[in-house]
Amino acid sequence: MTKMAKPNQSPTRITVAVQHQDFDLQHEHKELVDKDRSIGAVVAFIGMVRDLNLADDVVALELEHYPGMTEKSLQQIAAQAAERWPLQAARIVHRVGKMHPGDQIVLVLTASPHRHDAYEANMFMMDFLKTKAPFWKKEWTNEGPRWIEARESDTSATDRWSTSS
């Protein structure tokens, strides 16, 4: 087995969290790199609550999830990314509950020896998160609440990963 093992290829550290409370990028970044000196690049994506959607003022956004399945799904998405790109670590934090414009909703961190892998893996994870992970958004406008419909453009964003190498 020693000859077969890939050199310096330790398993990707994957952690996910679904939580009500806000997250802190600096804290999350510090936890992620965790004295791993082989990391050359960390890419961070943060999704924010916008104040405008479909031409209406959004006053609040409510996120619902499927406890158990959502965490499992996020874990699987990160594991799929780790199979395609050499990642030392991947972290997903997704908030649920009620949020307001300007609030952070989602954090995806990817750590790799080189930037291209960290960038691509990060985009892959967000694209899959948007179409595969069980979360649902309800928007509160001045007219009242409405559930957001899934978008075709999000599905095409996911599909492109199955054709590219």
């Binding site: 619902e64 499927y66 179409t131 992970a133 649902w136 419909e149 899934a150």
Partner: protein, 87 residues
């Protein structure tokens, strides 16, 4: 033998159906996801409207996404929901 199933509904469908979960004894002829959807549609009204037409929905069996032809294991947790909108 009827199949005992735990059904879960989320988000829009939870509100529309007025329930987040229910326990059912699915009749003999219900063995796949498609059978279950047809069975629920037969309740008529909002059930027919949401599940019996061309409206999009997704199904998970024991917390894994499932196709319409997937078999329903006894005592499975079956979740029905609209396409996801997280991120």
């Amino acid at each position: 033998m009827p199949t005992p199933l735990k059904l879960l509904y989320f988000a829009q469908l939870r509100e529309t159906f007025g329930r987040s979960e229910e326990l059912i004894e699915a009749p003999d002829q219900v063995s796949t996801v498609a059978d279950l959807i047809q069975h629920l549609s037969q309740r008529g009204g909002i059930w027919q409207e949401q599940l019996g037409g061309d409206k999009a929905f997704r199904v998970a069996i024991n917390q894994d996404m499932a196709d319409l032809d997937a078999k329903l294991p006894s005592h499975a947790e079956v979740a029905i929901f609209k396409p996801v909108t997280g991120g």
